[in-house]
């Protein structure tokens, strides 16, 4: 609740010189060593890490102390958790056992987050008891929590004591006049507040909590839900406010809103942003601060890499029935392999960047990639549940987002309909990189102006994208093709209703 400019403040707080690009996409060379140590295997705080490392959430915190117009508490939060399915509530003991079971099965799982389905700090006993149990048995797992911030100032010392060094605060506004249209009420000190008074109280507490955390050196990410017509323009101001208070990362997420979610926004027809609107806002904030663009707005019980959800493998019945043997040596050995792969990926990227160094072009374009993880082009076009989107220029390949295309979040199930859905989702891209693709979709993609690229199967994404781009520029140079701008694309609106 469900992350990810501090260029300068976040990075620079730690002293040494992070450079101007120390965003979630930043690598080791861009960050101060102590910050890199904290984020290098946290998938939500480092875009680079999210290709390799997994996280899990445990749903131990069902109660909430505020009401948001994008949330329907009959289900999980529609925006930062998946609506339509209620997370299985766990006790702290069940949660700790689940963490061990997952850590043993998925050795690249490095982070435990508590994100709901309500607010972790509205359930402080359950939240901190879970942290206590987990840190005793699996001290190598990073602890993380996500809050609306209302109760945050009361718990900062406890958070520091439990060595929770990543905290996410959802801040959608710093102006109560705007906030009153997002929050119908907040419950604080035995009283329900409404209107501007509620929004002012929430905002004051959020900013106070943020300052208290950053003063203690705890890394803070700020999540903001982009609600067109309500806070979209205002989020630039939010960005400035959180940056000046030391936030490390700003994650602007699209509003997810449909009538079937039963939320106030869903029922009154409030729309979410298009892909281009979201990217324009993220780009405009980036000069100010690091932006997270790889958030999947995951559930309060999600398990796995950010693009996948393996929670179904770890049902409570199954977990409680199994003996878990926590082998930290095996986890370390696996993670060493992952690190070797990351180094190979960086070297391959550098090699292509060097080859591109002579090219001189102002062209910037987007490509979509079908991947199962590890930073590789390794998914079949027809099996992809999401496409990762990279912006390519002579400056390099930058991850700028993802597009969900899983069937069950869409209206149609037929092959024709699903292909049309995929094309709408990646319509702003010049090419789509896949491990494999059939003849029919290939022809349809070409007709839509998207180049299907399958010659980089199994290779590193950034290296492949840059090699393709070099060839693209050559073809333009020789007059074989003409560079055409692309249109806008859809962000999935129907969340996982049927799952």
């Amino acid at each position: 609740m469900q992350e990810q400019a501090a260029e300068h403040k976040g990075c620079a707080t730690s002293g040494s010189g992070g450079n101007a690009s120390c965003g979630s996409g930043a690598g080791q060379r861009d960050l101060a060593p102590e910050i890199w140590e904290k984020v290098k295997n946290h998938p939500c705080y480092s875009e680079e890490a999210h290709h390799h490392y997994a996280r899990m959430h445990v749903a131990v915190a069902p109660a909430c102390n505020i009401q948001c117009n994008y949330c329907n508490r009959k289900y999980d939060c529609a925006n930062e958790s998946r609506p339509g399915v209620v997370s299985e509530k766990l006790t702290a003991e069940q949660a700790a056992k689940k963490v061990l079971a997952v850590a043993s099965t998925i050795p690249q799982m490095t982070v435990l987050g508590i994100a709901g389905p309500g607010d972790p700090l509205a359930n402080p006993e359950k939240t901190f008891k879970t942290f206590a149990l987990v840190s005793k048995v699996a001290p190598d797992i990073k602890l993380c929590l996500s809050t609306n911030g209302l109760a945050l100032p009361d718990h900062v010392d406890t958070i520091a004591r439990f060595k929770v060094d990543h905290v996410t605060i959802t801040i959608n506004m710093v102006d109560a006049k705007i906030g009153q249209h997002i929050y119908p009420w907040v419950y604080w000190k035995h009283k329900r507040y409404v209107g501007e008074e509620a929004a002012q109280l929430l905002s004051d507490r959020q900013l106070m909590g943020l300052e208290m955390l950053t003063a203690r050196g705890i890394l803070c990410k700020v999540n903001s839900v982009m609600i067109p017509g309500i806070n979209d323009e205002h989020l630039v101001e939010v960005n400035r406010a959180v940056k000046s208070r030391g936030a490390f990362l700003h994650n602007i997420m699209p509003l997810i809103s449909a009538p079937e979610h039963g939320t106030v926004f869903g029922l009154n027809g409030q729309r979410g942003p298009s892909a281009r609107e979201l990217k324009a806002l993220q780009d405009s904030c980036e000069g100010e601060m690091n932006m997270m663009r790889h958030c999947r707005q995951c559930r309060a019980d999600a398990v796995g890499l950010l693009g996948e959800d393996r929670s179904a493998e770890f049902s409570t019945d199954r977990i409680m029935a199994t003996e878990v043997n926590y082998d930290s040596e095996a986890r370390k050995a696996y993670q060493a392999k992952v690190e070797a792969e990351r180094r190979a990926k960086a070297a391959a990227r550098q090699h292509e960047l060097d080859a591109l160094a002579g090219a001189n072009s102002g062209i910037k374009l987007l490509i979509a990639v079908a991947t199962k993880g590890s930073g590789l082009v390794n998914e079949h076009f027809g099996h992809a549940k999401e496409f990762q989107v990279y912006e390519i220029s002579t400056a390099g390949a930058k991850f700028v987002g993802h597009r969900r295309v899983d069937l069950y979040c869409q209206g149609g199930f037929g092959e024709e309909e699903s292909l049309a859905t995929v094309i709408r989702a990646i319509n702003d891209c010049h090419a789509v990189f896949v491990a494999k693709i059939g003849g029919c979709p290939k022809a349809d993609l070409r007709a839509a102006g998207i180049d299907p690229v399958d010659e980089y199967a199994g290779q590193f994404i950034e290296k492949s994208a840059l090699a393709w781009f070099r060839n693209y520029l050559d073809r333009i140079g020789s007059g074989a093709i003409v560079h055409q701008p692309r249109g806008d694309a859809d962000i999935r609106q129907g969340a996982y209703i049927a799952a």
Binding site: R73, G118, Y187, R192
Partner: protein, 74 residues
């Protein structure tokens, strides 16, 4: 003895349980239940019943009209 929770609307979120000054609220089969013998409508504790103030679903914590209203001892 006056408030009750409409179970079919209760999300089971547990927010009301720790707020009740009379410790009248407990979980029953995934939803929550107010012990009518313990509930005082928060009279003597707070201006408004706490379960109503914190409940995320409007009109789910309501006055139970099947029993007499709570009367504080004089």
């Amino acid at each position: 003895m006056p408030l009750k929770i409409i179970a079919s609307q209760c999300t089971g979120c547990s927010a009301c349980e720790p707020e009740c000054p009379n410790v009248a609220i407990t979980e029953k089969n995934g939803t929550f239940w107010i012990n009518p013998k313990k509930c005082t409508e928060c009279i003597g504790h707070f201006d408004t019943p706490q379960c109503i103030a914190v409940c995320p679903v409007d009109n789910t914590c309501v006055i139970d009209t099947s029993v007499p209203r709570y009367r504080p001892a004089a």
